[in-house]
Structure formats: structure tokens, C-alpha cells
């Protein structure tokens, strides 16, 4: 086990079991059921009633059964035929800021889709309020640009529903163009979108560059169900989807005016769902994953030559799928229990160190016992786990990330208070200075920031109960020891004959501030009494500091000086001062 700055790489074993692609089965599951023909019928039923408005989209709501609500965004015929007169430019959209992730710090939306969405904004916020209260199934759907607005509306709805979701939404679009530069790969929301695309429909890939050398900022999200006359297949890999869309678009370019009849396509697919196809089973497949994918890509019009020509690599897809299969619910549970175990081990280490009158911070820093080395390993596992958790939260859209982390922020905080002092100890042991700016890992910063966003100021009652429990508490400020170390450095600098007057002054200021800080922590019962253990760095600092005051600033007095000189600290943690 390699211990590098307190992190152990969480290795995923390569899984050599045969792997399958469910691209075909998932698609068949959808088309053989009656889920989509139902909405689709409504889509076009309404569309036919539309008179030739100038390009616009209208929402219609209806309840086919008491348990089901359908919202259809109906584009005017104009819209379907010339989907986007303005073309495919993207504009920044503060309305969808909640989709920001680490990957996509600023959200841009296709101008046409956004304009249509915003023109309906008042109407939609009323609709949103109404729908959030409803229970049951909610289907949001639309054809072409109607589908784009349906997607935007679904996102808008998901954002406000995330905390208390009563109904299950799903957004189904038919031949809709891409809408923005954000992906939802790491978000649960990804699973609420299903996009149908015919291999004769150029609209979905309309804004994609036709040549491979150009890149695009558009990102697909959700599951794409590609269909042809022969059958259908589902894919959710964004790179593959982009490529397929671009190829389809470039192939049918010029035929822009021809409107694809999704109703007809689906009727045909329903028949195909229980059709064997021309071929009978041959030999067993030695590589079922690629065999399945190749078979399905061929069904939707992408034969081997075309794949090669457009640089679509099945092997890479397989490798990616493999790396995903490792994580299961069972392994998650095991990991969580391991984390609990490591925390228990650290707690015991802390207790043992306390018995040695030193505190776990200083024991680890001096690293003299065998158990101190073992601790490095536990830390490594814990850090790796929590760095991943924090990263996962960051990859999610903001609101979703927030609700994701409330589930574990409490244990994350305990972890931070327990383990960060050890990282600080290692940092200063190895000669580092200014941990806060030079050594602090991003995940600690975020864990602290999130905790502070959620925390309420302590009330009087809480203070009393903290007083009761202070002996068992972990020091609340996980950076406490970094400040202690800096104070020690300041003391040294004051005593150092070579220090300049400016250095001395700033060191003294630092010490005054530190004194205030410590006293505040003590008064709030926010530090563990372990800092007062005889051999702790804090007491060492106090020794130096007292020495300095006694010789150089005899009349200096502060609350901390009084507190410590009167030995009040000996009472701290014994229920009352």
C-alpha cells in the first residue's frame, strides 16, 4: 500500500466476466410497451389542430388517467419545418444556472429554444407550481422544437422538485435538436430523459459540425433511442450520440424540408419488436458485448464500414462499460462499512494517544510508534473515499448536489474533524509552512464550506450540552492545529535574533490574533480538552509564548493569558469551568 500525502488510490479490479450490451433490449423494452405511442398520438393529434402561427410552441396539459399527467409542447407547423431560423448559436442563461457543475461552470442554451421557453415563462412557472404538488406519473413531451422546450421545462421542474419529489417525471422528445452545453452524466436527472431520433431525421444533429476535426460545445444528455425501418437501439454515451447525430444530419442534409413521421416509424417498430429478423442464430458469441453493439448499430443504419469511416470505436466503449460494472450496491455497502471501521480504528488511536498524555495530533506528528504508521493507511482509505464523495457532489447540478450531500455531510464533518489534523501534522512534520494556503486539500475546504452553509449558530441550550459533552468532542475547527503550528512559528520568529522588526511585528500580531481565536474556541466549548495534554504542541507553544511574554512583555495581558496562567484549563472538559 502506497501512502502518498494521505491518499490511497481506490483501485477497481478489471472484471473479466463476459459483458453484454443492452442497447437493443432497452430499446425493445420501450417500443414494445405502450409508453411512447400513447404520448406520440397526443402530440400529433394536437399538432394537427394547430393553425399556422408564426414559429411558436404551446403547452397543453391533460390527464388521461387520474394517476397520469401529460404535458405536450406543441410546435407550430412553421417550427417543425424550419426548426431554427436563428441557427445554432448558444447564449449564456442565468435561468439555468442551477445546471452548473465542475465540468460546466457556465451554462449556455440554444438561442431559439431559450427564446421560446422564456416567452412562455410566466405561464410555465404557474404550471410548475401546479405540477410540483401533483402525485403520480408525469410525462413531458414534444416534437422537434417542442421537445427542446419540453426538455428545458423538465429541467426547470426537476430543480424545484428535487427536495420533495412527489411525482415521477419523464421527458420524451421526438426528433428534437440539442439544447445546450451542459451534460448530466453524473446526475440522476440524466435518467429522466428519453430522446427518439430517426435515422432519417436531420434536425437533432442540426447544429453539429459535419467534419470530425471540428468540435462542438453542444452536449447531449439522457438516453437516445435511435430508430430506422429495421429496428432501434438505445445509447447513453454522449460521445457516441454526438457522432451518430452528426452523421445522420450530414447524410440527410438538404432533405431538411421533409418532416419525419414518428407515428409511422413507431407503428413499424412495434411490429419489428416481435420479428426475428432474416437471420437465424449461428454460433455462440465469443464477444457478446461488441457483437450486440455491432448488430444494433447495423440495425439503425451504421454498418462496419460506416463505423470505421466515422471513427466509432466499439472497443473503447467496451472498456468504459467494464469500468462501470464493478460498482454495485453490495460493494457500496461493504465500502461504507469499511469506512466506519477505519473511523473506529482512528478513534481508538486517539484514545490511546490521550492515555499517552500527548494527543493523537502529536503522536502522529512524531510518528514514533508502529501504530502511527498504520494510522497513515487508515487515513489514506478515508481520504480517498471522501475525496470521491466530494467530487461526485461537484459533478452534479448544484441543487441536486446539495441534496445529495445532506445525506452524508454529518459523517463527512466528523471525518474532517478527525482526519484533517493528521494531514496537518504530516504537513508540518515534513517542513511545510502556511498549511491553509499551501497544503489544504480542496475537499476539506468544500466539506467545511458546505457544513457552514447548513449550520445554525449555537443557541444557549446547545452551549450547555456542549459543555457537558466537551470531553468527547472533536475539535470543531479542523484547521485548529494549523493555527497552532503557525503560532509556534511566530514565536520562533520573535525569538530569532535575525528577524526584522517587520517580521517581529507581524508575528506578534499573529500571536495576538491567535490568542483571541483560541479563547473564543474555548468559550464556545469548540475545542477538545486534549489540546491541554502535557505534551501537546499547543502546550509547547504556550510554554514558548509564556516564556516570551515573561521576558519581553511583562505587562501584556489577554484573556487567554489569564485563563491559562490561572490554570483554568485544568477544569476545562470536566463539566464546568
Amino acid at each position: 500500500m502506497v501512502y502518498v500525502r494521505g491518499r490511497i488510490k481506490r483501485g477497481r479490479r478489471m472484471n473479466q466476466d463476459p459483458l453484454f450490451s443492452s442497447a437493443g433490449e432497452l430499446a425493445n423494452f420501450v417500443v414494445a410497451s405502450n409508453l411512447i405511442d400513447y404520448d406520440l398520438a397526443k402530440n400529433f393529434e394536437f399538432q394537427r389542430c394547430q393553425t399556422a402561427f408564426p414559429c411558436s410552441v404551446q403547452p397543453m396539459v391533460y390527464h388521461p388517467t387520474p394517476n397520469r399527467t401529460i404535458v405536450v409542447f406543441i410546435p407550430s407547423p412553421d417550427c417543425t419545418q424550419y426548426p431554427l431560423p436563428e441557427g445554432g448559436d448558444l447564449v449564456p442563461s442565468p435561468e439555468f444556472k442551477f445546471l452548473c457543475t465542475k465540468e460546466c461552470p457556465s451554462v449556455s442554451i440554444n438561442r431559439a429554444a431559450l427564446t421560446l421557453f422564456l416567452s412562455l415563462h410566466d405561464h410555465l412557472s404557474g404550471l410548475k407550481a401546479q405540477l410540483t404538488e401533483r402525485e403520480g406519473q408525469l410525462i413531458i413531451t414534444g416534437h422537434s422544437l417542442g421537445g427542446s422546450v419540453a426538455s428545458l421545462f423538465t429541467l426547470y421542474l426537476l430543480d424545484s422538485m428535487d427536495k420533495k419529489r412527489k411525482c415521477r417525471p419523464i421527458c420524451i422528445t421526438f426528433g428534437s435538436p440539442l439544447i445546450g452545453n451542459f451534460g448530466l452524466q453524473h446526475s440522476q436527472w440524466n435518467s429522466f430523459f428519453l430522446h427518439l431520433v430517426s435515422n432519417k431525421d436531420p434536425v437533432p444533429g442540426l447544429f453539429l459540425p459535419s467534419s470530425h476535426s471540428q468540435t462542438t460545445v453542444y452536449k447531449p444528455f439522457g438516453t437516445y433511442l435511435f430508430c430506422s425501418e429495421l429496428g432501434c437501439a438505445c445509447f447513453d454515451n454522449p460521445d457516441l450520440i454526438l457522432k451518430l447525430l452528426a452523421v445522420i444530419s450530414s447524410e440527410v442534409a438538404g432533405g431538411l424540408l421533409q418532416v419525419v413521421d414518428y407515428g409511422e416509424i413507431l407503428r413499424n417498430l412495434k411490429n419489428k419488436a416481435i420479428w426475428k429478423g432474416p437471420q437465424l442464430a449461428g454460433e455462440r458469441f465469443t464477444e457478446p458485448f461488441s457483437a450486440g453493439i455491432i448488430m444494433k448499430l447495423e440495425t439503425i443504419g451504421f454498418d462496419q464500414t460506416k463505423l470505421l469511416q466515422h471513427n466509432i470505436d466499439i472497443r473503447r466503449m467496451e472498456a468504459e462499460a467494464r469500468s462501470l460494472t464493478k460498482k454495485t450496491k453490495a460493494s457500496d455497502i461493504k465500502e461504507l462499512n469499511d469506512i466506519k471501521k477505519y473511523m473506529a480504528l482512528l478513534e481508538w488511536y486517539k484514545k490511546k494517544s490521550k492515555d499517552a498524555k500527548k494527543g493523537y495530533y502529536d503522536c502522529f506528528k512524531s510518528g514514533e510508534f508502529r501504530r502511527d504508521i498504520a494510522v497513515g493507511e487508515f487515513m489514506g482509505h478515508l481520504n480517498a473515499y471522501w475525496e470521491d464523495m466530494v467530487a461526485e457532489a461537484q459533478w452534479k447540478p448544484q441543487t441536486e448536489g446539495a441534496s445529495f450531500r445532506t445525506g452524508w455531510l454529518f459523517s463527512g464533518t466528523t471525518y474532517r474533524r478527525m482526519v484533517e489534523p493528521l494531514d496537518i501534522a504530516a504537513f508540518y512534520r515534513d517542513g511545510g509552512t502556511d498549511y491553509i494556503n499551501n497544503g489544504r486539500s480542496q475537499h476539506y475546504k468544500l466539506l467545511q464550506q458546505w457544513y457552514e452553509e447548513d449550520a445554525k449558530p449555537p443557541s444557549r441550550d446547545q452551549l450547555d450540552s456542549r459543555k457537558e459533552k466537551v470531553s468527547a468532542l472533536l475539535t470543531e475547527d479542523s484547521c485548529f492545529w494549523a493555527y497552532v503550528e503557525e503560532a509556534i512559528l511566530s514565536c520562533e520568529s520573535l525569538k530569532n535574533a535575525n528577524s526584522s522588526p517587520e517580521q517581529r511585528e507581524s508575528s506578534w500580531d499573529n500571536l495576538v490574533m491567535f490568542g483571541e481565536y483560541v479563547m473564543e474556541q474555548i468559550e464556545n466549548y469548540a475545542v477538545s480538552p486534549e489540546i491541554f495534554l502535557e505534551e501537546s504542541s499547543f502546550m509547547k507553544w504556550w510554554g514558548e509564548y509564556e516564556d516570551y511574554i515573561d521576558t519581553n512583555r511583562n505587562f501584556y495581558s489577554s484573556r487567554l493569558v489569564n485563563f491559562t496562567k490561572r490554570s483554568s484549563y485544568k477544569q476545562y472538559g470536566r463539566r464546568a469551568i
Binding site: P18, L19, F20, S22, E25, L26, N28, F29, V30, A32, S33, N34, L35, Q137, I139, R168, I170, Q188, N190, S191, F192, L194, G222, T223, C234, D236, K270, N271, A273, I274, W275, K276, G277, Q279, L280, A281, G282, E283, R284, F285, P288, G292, M295, A321, T325, T328, K329, A330, S331, I333, K334, L336, N337, D338, K340, K341, A344, L345, W348, K351
Partner: protein, 598 residues
């Protein structure tokens, strides 16, 4: 090749055709609930007694409310038909269950059945079409009663139970007693994969008039094939996604918008390919895939296949006459054999589904193998725990109280072991929930024993930890329905209770400490009210019984233990009633003083 159907399903070939004959005859004799026939086996002169059941083609006997006539069955006579983890009870078609209940009274009393049991003759329950479900339920009924294993033969039977139903059958080791014959295109074995609809009624109406007026050929309905098979295909694709390890979370979202049929095949299936070959399949996932894929449309047009799907329901007798005794039988278990697949006319996509079904079974066996190694680790940790317990006993405190105090290194190490073990059992629990272990895992003697050992040894420590941190203030008592008690213990307890055919909740000796702790807390809160008095007596009764059958260790009786201290603090009016306990404590104390090994 080279085996006959009889070999593969463990029944003499001579029985099958007569049984099919009787089943068809019984189906069309609505005046009698069942027919009985004794069949002599030529080579060993033994007799087999076949009971076959009448059928009904009335829609009300096939469907009902809620959709799919879903009915939970795991009560009384069908107590085994449940999941021992969180999967819930098995679901069966309520209309079939009702018809079974109409028959079972007379069937149990049948003198032929008594006679067969007395003379130790093999009993076979057979059913054709809607007689099939009754045969299936009757067989289960007698399996539950542990009468000498009856066999079940069905011909063109509709599906009866859901996934849990099949899982429970395999767990109990009953699956092999059921054999279902299915024609390649017969619509009836597939009909329950589609919700009841006008198409259902058309099909049933057609058969009803066909069976009622045997000589007149009613006009066959049309246009139903696409609907029924479309829905069935959706079920098969959904299951295939799961077999293929589909990681797309949309699968579950989409599923929540579609009401899929809950019914799945179970038992051994024999597919009649129509060209004289029989294909035997036991893997339930493979059965489902074949059921759908072999009836898919090929070259021939829909109307033709549609007609065949009706005609083949009446073709069992002639088909079986031709292929029984012939050795053209192939077992698909062990992997899809290419030649056979061509007989069934499967597509490459179907081949992938079958490979996935096979791989799923392989993975479960591999997981079991991995667990054997894993269980050794469990043993090692348990051994540490046992030593810990022994040492704690020497200090006259008992490990429960020692652990609660957490003063010694040993207590800490025990805590780490506790967490380690929790992780392992939780992982097992999750894998069972995902069906990632063989169906009979929870029935395996060594697993139940190891689990019980774990539960009795370690659950007290979870309880100690719980009350040490006063967690009852946040969550309520340790033992309340669905409360803070870790689920792993609930499951493991259930395995034992199920195995011993005890009521759920009867083997809760590992909860002794929780009862004591909670009682202590409640006495402080409520005083000695009636309810408390009763609970005290219950704890005392339990203690005596459990110490007696050694399911609870007598270290609870150590002089310094929480229990003894609590018990001594009880008001004096209690003591006279429970001098038995005083005596037990005394004996324990003596043994410790003498240093005898407990």
C-alpha cells in the same frame, strides 16, 4: 442427445402421454373437478396415480382486480412462498388461486390420494390449459405438507406466479418436481405476460366455443398476436436488460411508467419444436427468453403465425405421441446448443439473451464460490469474538457489559471485529436482494448455522453499542418493527425460523439484552404498571427457556452483569415468583467461583 424426456425430468416416459390424455379429458369435463387414473409402469410394475383437473375458459377465471389479478399467497398452506429477505411475498394469479381453493377440499379427501399415499405410489398432478395452474398449486400444497413428493405435469398451461414464486420454489428445492410442456407458438403459455384486454377475451372466447362444441370450428379471432406478444416481448426485454447488467438508470424510470406483467416461468420447461424434437430447459431466465423469442414472427406472415398460435394449443397430444420415447431431446442447461436453437428458430439477438441468462447463472455460482472463501474470514472473526467473550467471562462481567464500558483494548478490538462482520453480512444481504447468489443460499445448512452463530454472538454487541450511545432517544427502542435493528439480523433470524418451520419472531434470543435494556428504561419512565409487569415476566420466561435450550449463553447470569443488577433491583414482590432465576444466578456464581469451564 441420447436422453429421453423422462430421464431429464425424472419421471418414466410411459407416464407422460397418458397423463396428457387425462389432462385434456379432465379439462373438458367441467362436471368433475378432477379425474384420477392409475398407470402401470411396464418394466418395474410400479403404479403412478395421476390426478388431472378441469378447466375454464371464462375470463373471470383468468383475470381479476388489481391488474393481472395479483394476489399475495404466502399465508397458511403456502407459507414457504415468500422471500426471506426484503423481496416480499410471492404473487400469484388470484383467479387461479380461487379455482384451486374450490378444488382442494375434495382433492384432499379423495380416497385415491389416501390409497396412493398408503401404498407409497408416485402421485402426479396434471393439467392442460387452465387446468395447469390448479395442478401447480395442488402440487405445492402437498409439498408444503411434506407428503411424499408429488410431481406436476402441465401442457400448455398459463403462467401462475411471479419471480419470488419461482425463487421460493428453487430455494426449497421443489423446482424439479414441475414440468411444463409448451408448443413453439401456443399463445396460452404467453398470455399472462400481457395485461387482460379485449384481445385476451377474444382468445378465451374462441377456445371456449371450441371446447364446448367439439365438432364445430369457430371462427378464429385475429389481430391479437401483436398486442399480446408485444407486451410479452416488453417483459422479456426488460428481464434481458437486467440479465445483461444494464447500467442505464432510465430502465427503472421507464419501467415505473409501464405496468409489466409480474408473472415469470418456473420449473422445468419442455419446448416442443414441432418437428419432433423436444428441448428441455431449467434456467428460468432462459425459459422466459425462449418463450418469447421462439414465437417471434419470421418469414411467414402475421396471420399465419396467429392462426398457429391458436391451433398449437390443441396439438399437445399428437405432438407428444410423436416425440416421446424418441431420443431427440436436448437439454439446454449448460449453455445454448446451436443445433437446438435452429430447431427453435431463434435469432442472433435471442442467442445473446440466452448467453446472458446462462452467464447470470454462472455468475451466481461463482459468487457462491467466492463466498466460500469469504465465509472462512467470517469464521476467523467469529473465533476472535468467541475468545473475547470467554475472556470477559473470567472477569465476571460478561462480554456484553465489558463491551458497553469500552475500557479495555479487547473491547476495542471486538468493536473492529463487529464492524468487519457487519460489512460482510451486509454485503451478503445486498447480494441476496439482487438475486446475485444461488436461490437455495438461505436454505443451506452451513450458512444458516454460521449466521445463527454470528447473530447470537455479535448482536448483543450491537445492542450494547446502541444503548451505550443512548440511541433509543433518537430512534426509539432497538426492537420495533422496521426500526433500528440492523436488517442483517432480521434476515438471518428468519432463515432459521423458516428452516425450523417456526413462526416469524420466535427465535429472538439474540434480542434478550435489548428487552432487558428497554425494560430498564421503560420502568424509569412508567413505573411498575401492568404492561411492565407482563414484560418482566416475559423476559424471565424467555431467559429460562433460552438458557434451557442453550440458545442463550448463561454469562447473562454473571453477578455483575446488567441483567443481574437490573433483576436484583426489581421490587421484592417479584422475587417469589421467580426463584428459578435466583437459583440460576446462584449456580452460575458457584461455577465461576469453582473456576469450572462454562
Amino acid at each position: 442427445m441420447g436422453e429421453t424426456v423422462g430421464n431429464l425430468i425424472g419421471l418414466n416416459d410411459e407416464v407422460i402421454h397418458p397423463a396428457a390424455n387425462l389432462a385434456v379429458e379432465a379439462h373438458n369435463s367441467p362436471s368433475k373437478q378432477f379425474l384420477v387414473k392409475k398407470i402401470k409402469i411396464r418394466h418395474d410394475l410400479s403404479s403412478v396415480v395421476v390426478f388431472a383437473f378441469s378447466g375454464s375458459m371464462l375470463p373471470k377465471d383468468w383475470s381479476g382486480q388489481p391488474t393481472f389479478a395479483k394476489t399475495e399467497i404466502a399465508t397458511g398452506e403456502f407459507r414457504s412462498l415468500t422471500s426471506l429477505n426484503d423481496g416480499g411475498d410471492a404473487v400469484v394469479n388470484g383467479s387461479f388461486l380461487r379455482r384451486f381453493k374450490d378444488v382442494i377440499g375434495n382433492l384432499s379427501k379423495a380416497k385415491e390420494l389416501k390409497e396412493a399415499t398408503e401404498k407409497k405410489r408416485q402421485v402426479v398432478f396434471a393439467g392442460y390449459s387452465s387446468g395447469g395452474p390448479i395442478a401447480i398449486l395442488a402440487t405445492l400444497y402437498f409439498l408444503e405438507k411434506q407428503t411424499p413428493s408429488p410431481r406436476c405435469l402441465t401442457f400448455g398451461s398459463p403462467l401462475v406466479g411471479d419471480r419470488i414464486f419461482g425463487h421460493a420454489l428453487r430455494r426449497e428445492g421443489w423446482s424439479d418436481y414441475f414440468t411444463h410442456f409448451v408448443m413453439k407458438y401456443d399463445i396460452i403459455p404467453r398470455i399472462m405476460l400481457s395485461p387482460s384486454s379485449t384481445e385476451h377475451e377474444q382468445i378465451l372466447d374462441y377456445f371456449k366455443s371450441k371446447f364446448d362444441r367439439k365438432n364445430i370450428n369457430p371462427a378464429p379471432p385475429s389481430g391479437f398476436y401483436l398486442t399480446v406478444m408485444g407486451n410479452a416481448s416488453s417483459v422479456a426485454s426488460y428481464e434481458a436488460c437486467r440479465l445483461m447488467g444494464c447500467r442505464n438508470p432510465s430502465l427503472d424510470i421507464i419501467k415505473s411508467f409501464i405496468e409489466l406483467s409480474p408473472y415469470r416461468p418456473s420449473g422445468t420447461y419442455v419446448f416442443c419444436t414441432g418437428n419432433g424434437n423436444l428441448v428441455v430447459v431449467k434456467n428460468p431466465n432462459a425459459v422466459l427468453q425462449i418463450l418469447i423469442h421462439c414465437a417471434e414472427l419470421g418469414e411467414s406472415n402475421t396471420a399465419e403465425v396467429e392462426k398457429r398460435s391458436l391451433d398449437e394449443h390443441s396439438a399437445y397430444l399428437s405432438e407428444l405421441k410423436d416425440c416421446l420415447g424418441m431420443q431427440a431431446v436436448v437439454s439446454l442447461d449448460g449453455g445454448p446448443a446451436t443445433a437446438t436453437l435452429n430447431d427453435l428458430g431463434l435469432s442472433p439477438q435471442a442467442m445473446l439473451c440466452l448467453q446472458a441468462a446462462e452467464e447470470f447463472e454462472n455468475r451466481r455460482s461463482r459468487n457462491l464460490e467466492n463466498f466460500r472463501k469469504y465465509l472462512e474470514k467470517v469464521e476467523v472473526e467469529l473465533e476472535k469474538m468467541r475468545k473475547y467473550k470467554e475472556n470477559a467471562q473470567i472477569s465476571r462481567l460478561g462480554y456484553y457489559d465489558s463491551f458497553k464500558l469500552q475500557n479495555e483494548d479487547d473491547d476495542f478490538h471486538a468493536n473492529v471485529s463487529r464492524l468487519e462482520l457487519a460489512g460482510m453480512w451486509d454485503e451478503i444481504k445486498e447480494m441476496l436482494k439482487e438475486f446475485e447468489l444461488p436461490d437455495d443460499f438461505e436454505k443451506k445448512r452451513e450458512i444458516i448455522d454460521l449466521g445463527t452463530k454470528y447473530r447470537r454472538l455479535v448482536e448483543p454487541l450491537d445492542i450494547a453499542n446502541f444503548y451505550r450511545h443512548s440511541k433509543d432517544k433518537e430512534t426509539g427502542a432497538y426492537v420495533i418493527g422496521g426500526g433500528p435493528r440492523p436488517k442483517r439480523y432480521r434476515f438471518i433470524q428468519r432463515w432459521l425460523e423458516h428452516d425450523e418451520k417456526e413462526e416469524f419472531g420466535s427465535r429472538s434470543e439474540s434480542l434478550f439484552w435489548a428487552d432487558v435494556e428497554q425494560l430498564g428504561i421503560d420502568i424509569k419512565k412508567k413505573g411498575y404498571v401492568q404492561e411492565i409487569e407482563e414484560r418482566i415476566q416475559q423476559v424471565e420466561r424467555n431467559l429460562i427457556a433460552w438458557i434451557g435450550d442453550r440458545s442463550l449463553d448463561d454469562d447473562v447470569l454473571l453477578e455483575n452483569s446488567t441483567f443481574v443488577k437490573w433483576w436484583r433491583d426489581l421490587p421484592p414482590q417479584h422475587k417469589p415468583k421467580s426463584d428459578r432465576i435466583e437459583k440460576l444466578i446462584g449456580e452460575m456464581s458457584e461455577r465461576v467461583t469453582q473456576g469450572t469451564k462454562i
